[in-house]
């Protein structure tokens, strides 16, 4: 058993095994609290029972697939829109409009849903539009920062290599900032999960786990609510892992610059 010393001091590196042990200890503590100190919170047995029931008779898996498909669609569209706009912010004439668009993240969607319904007349398009709007507002903000944080010397270096203006943008801003761009997607995709319940509560015709959650909440089925929230967590965890993996494949150099890049 390695010493716990480094684990309690800041900025220390601990071996993978020690890290895993600590994570397991925290998990055990949470489960113990859940088992013995739950009170009004549904017990693990009841949550598992609800999960079994949701899967066996209420089509949880089908609903999950519906939500994941919608989510992937929304993320793809949001990435396309946000990245295009953010890269265009390198042009001074377009910068004010892009900057203005980033402020959309301060807006609440209350009341706007009605306007969106009129524009998209409802159904799948409405759900997609709302999700894209929500994710894009935040993703664009992060991406504008990513673009703006390109060091001057990198641009100068590219220019000394006789690259044209747009070639510089491609090499330095687009390819050179791939790592931070992935991080931006990873952080802002979570926004989509937060909004999923809202949009699937607004358009219930296709179902989805958001619809399921809203229905369970109306009937105060706490165990089922916790079960569906658990599915949200697991789906989010896999999404994070997937984006992390994609980043490590496409931008392997990004991991080399951080102290914790080697795991732990």
């Amino acid at each position: 058993m390695p010493s716990l010393g480094p684990a309690l001091r800041p900025n220390q590196w601990v071996p993978q095994r020690t890290y895993a042990t600590m994570a397991a200890a925290w998990a055990a503590l949470v489960i113990l609290l859940w088992l013995f100190g739950a009170g009004i919170f549904p017990s693990p047995a009841r949550v598992l029972e609800a999960l079994r029931n949701l899967t066996a008779s209420q089509g949880l898996i089908g609903e999950l697939l519906t939500s994941l498909t919608l989510f992937a669609e929304a993320l793809a569209v949001a990435v396309a829109i946000s990245f295009t706009l953010a890269y265009l912010s390198v042009v001074p004439a377009l910068r004010p409009i892009v900057t203005a668009l980033t402020k959309a993240r301060f807006l609440s969607l209350v009341g706007f849903t009605f306007v969106f319904t009129i524009w998209f007349s409802g159904g799948h398009a409405l759900k997609l539009a709302l999700l894209v709007f929500g994710i894009s507002a935040f993703l664009l903000t992060s991406m504008v920062d990513v673009v703006a944080s390109v060091p001057t010397e990198k641009l100068d270096h590219a220019r000394t290599l006789r690259m044209g203006d747009w070639r510089v943008v491609w090499e330095v801003v687009v390819l050179g900032q791939m790592g931070p761009a992935f991080d931006a997607i990873r952080q802002n995709a979570a926004m989509g999960w937060m909004m999923l319940t809202m949009v699937e509560g607004l358009v219930r015709g296709e179902g989805g786990i958001g619809t399921m959650l809203v229905d369970q909440q109306k009937h105060f089925n706490l165990a089922a609510i916790v079960a569906v929230q658990g599915v949200f967590l697991i789906a989010g965890f896999f999404q994070d892992a997937f984006l992390g993996w994609l980043k490590s494949v496409l931008v392997p150099s990004a991991a080399l610059v951080t102290a914790r890049g080697k795991g732990g």
Binding site: L64, L65, G122, F220, N221
Partner: protein, 615 residues
């Protein structure tokens, strides 16, 4: 074999994408092999009987001969009641509470108010979120369970609609009993008033003229809520199937766009909301998809005003104006706290119901109650005049100039409570209007959505009328108190002028006689429950097949219709007063099937029930 870094990258990407694809296809396979959403089959909702009493709704309600002296208006200064028991209440913004609000004089008990005279300090706050209401009652139960006699957290009472109380209490009590024990269950102790027109099904005029044209419609509203119940009931009265599945479209049934609130229902209609749905017939997917748009809504004031003014083109098809007993307001508290604070509960109810009397009998009390509503509900754009206007109910032109009925509520006094819960002379708890609305709508929900609401609690577990009985005792007994209950009068003869529902009911008789078979008892009980939730005039039409002597058949159909009428009237003279039921005998003159086959003849030997108004 050595791979170049580009080669490695390609292999890893292909590998990763293969994993993603495998997960996707795995989920898809599982979804289509028993783990997907099952298509729900459309069913005709259970028909509701025995719930209402009275026609000539258009003339308003007469109240009994008992008049109540004006008690003087409460001031708007909070009353100083040192040491008085404190009660916290959460109410929806709902006009049926007019009398209860009046009794308190304001958000907190004011000087000179009926509540102050009872020596109770009540604080009323608005809360339109059912989950919050459940959470607040749970917080109070938790405080009690933790040993606080007067918990500092949570609220003591909430108010919701009686027809939805089954589904509400099924969810809440499961939670409370599992966490704290049987004594901590929530229970109903009384009623502040009724919805009388404000809750409705709105749709194109053709649904009113011919309810069968509603088949294939798409209606927006909050599923499993009181407004949805109104539509369920109308469909039940007319034999129209309901498609409970909010993801499919059945052209032979009524389909639903589920919304999170009654306001969103109106917004969806105004925005002309549409979506693509899988078409199903007889519970099976046809493989087709169809774009469907919202044709109608179930909602309540002020969203009915929103729909009328924002787009128009839909009228009130049926509402709590016709289904008078369907939506009583009910007051819900925690059983254990109520028992330990019996006097406080009785005094609070006394003040509430005296407030009801004041609002019912004195216009200035209603005006003051509307001002209190404005203070408590704090609804933007709604002044006191607004609440008073929609309490009374109005007819206003919509955006297209078509007149639409909007609003309509009624405050309850003690006598109304005694009638509602079956404590008044001539009523029994077993045949009460509350039992009918609670049972019927609880069953409709659990029958269609067994996964969400497996069952509703038995009525004896959620209703404690002992507080009301004590209040009545002190008021001089139920006999005296009931003198001032609203009564309905039935005038006119011949057929109703506006048919609200028409359907055949199965009531079986011994061959060739007007004697009921043993199965008929249950059929009659169901009919009684269904007719209890409205106060519409009832026509019973007797029909026979063409076998035998036509004159004898004519007499037989009359005897059978009369037997049904007498059974209902004997069950409850209060629900079926003289004149409410009229009988018509047609003998073999109106067959609905061919008399050449045994099945056809069986279908022709029938009793048809028509309900409607004479307005």
């Amino acid at each position: 074999m050595q791979l170049t870094s580009t080669g490695q990258k390609t292999v890893r990407i292909i590998g990763g994408l293969a994993v993603i694809a495998a997960i996707g296809f795995g989920l898809k396979y599982a979804a289509s092999h028993g783990y997907g959403r099952q298509i729900m089959r459309a069913i005709v909702p259970e028909k509701v009987s025995g719930l209402d009493a009275g026609s000539d709704i258009g003339n308003g309600f007469a109240t009994g001969s008992g008049t109540v002296a004006f008690a003087g208006l409460p001031s708007d200064r909070p009353a100083d009641l040192p040491g008085a028991p404190e009660v916290r209440i959460n109410f929806w913004a709902w006009n049926s509470q007019m009398g209860c609000l009046y009794s308190n004089g304001g958000p907190v008990t004011t000087e000179g108010s009926l509540m102050a005279k009872q020596g109770i300090k009540v604080r009323i706050d608005r809360q339109d979120d059912n989950t919050q209401l459940m959470a607040q009652l749970t917080a109070l139960a938790k405080g009690l369970h933790d040993g606080q006699a007067q918990p500092r957290e949570g609220i003591h009472f909430i108010g919701i609609m009686g027809d939805g109380s089954g589904a509400f209490l099924a969810a809440l009590n499961k939670q409370l009993i599992d966490s704290f024990g049987e004594d901590y269950r929530a229970e109903i102790v009384g009623s502040c008033g009724y919805s009388r027109g404000e809750d409705k099904l709105m749709g194109p005029q053709k649904w009113r003229d011919n309810p069968q044209s509603m088949r294939g419609a798409v209606v927006a509203g909050v599923l499993r809520d009181g407004d949805w119940n109104i539509a369920q009931r109308f469909m039940g009265d007319n034999g129209i199937p309901n498609n409970p599945d909010e993801t499919t479209y059945d052209p032979n049934a009524v389909n639903w766009v589920n919304t999170s609130s009654y306001v969103e229902a109106a917004e969806k209609y105004v925005a002309n909301y549409c979506e693509d749905r899988r078409v199903v017939e007889n519970g099976k997917a046809t493989g087709q998809t169809r774009r469907v748009c919202v044709d109608g809504i179930v909602t309540w004031t002020p969203a009915d005003v929103t729909a009328a003014k924002g787009r128009g083109g839909i009228v009130s098809i049926v509402s709590t104006k016709e289904y008078t007993s369907q939506m009583p307001h009910v007051i819900i508290g925690i059983h254990k706290w109520n028992q330990q604070n019996r006097q406080t509960v009785e005094k609070m109810l006394t003040a509430f119901l005296q407030g009801g009397d004041q609002v019912l009998h004195h216009p200035q009390a209603l005006t003051r109650a509307a001002q209190i509503s404005q203070q408590i509900y704090n609804e933007s754009g709604a002044d006191a005049a607004y609440w008073e206007k929609y309490y009374r109910g109005v007819t206003e032109p919509d955006k297209t100039g078509v007149p639409v009925d909007l609003g309509g509520s009624k405050a309850n006094n003690l006598a109304d409570n005694l009638v509602l819960f079956g404590l008044a002379p001539g009523t029994t708890p077993e045949t009460s209007r509350f039992r009918a609305t609670y049972t019927v709508f609880g069953n409709i929900v659990s029958q269609q959505y067994p996964d969400l609401v497996p069952s509703v609690p038995p009525i004896d577990q959620i209703l404690d009328v002992s507080y009301l009985q004590a209040v009545a005792q002190r008021a001089g007994g139920a006999q005296t108190a009931a003198a001032a209950a609203e009564t309905n009068t039935y005038t006119g003869s011949g057929n109703v002028s506006r048919v609200v529902g028409r359907r055949n009911v199965s009531i079986t008789f011994e061959t060739g006689s007007a004697t009921f078979t043993p199965e008929a008892e249950q059929q009659l009980q169901q009919l009684f429950d269904e007719l209890s939730i409205n106060s519409l005039a009832v026509e019973i039409h007797g029909h026979t097949d063409n076998v035998g002597n036509p004159d004898a058949n004519q007499q037989l159909s009359e005897d059978r219709a009369l037997a049904v009428k007498q059974w209902l009237e004997q069950r409850s003279a209060s629900t079926f007063p003289q004149g409410r039921i009229r009988i018509f005998a047609h003998g073999p003159t109106q067959p609905i099937e061919s008399n050449r086959t045994a099945e056809g003849r069986a279908a022709n030997r029938r009793v048809e029930i028509v309900i409607g108004t004479n307005s």
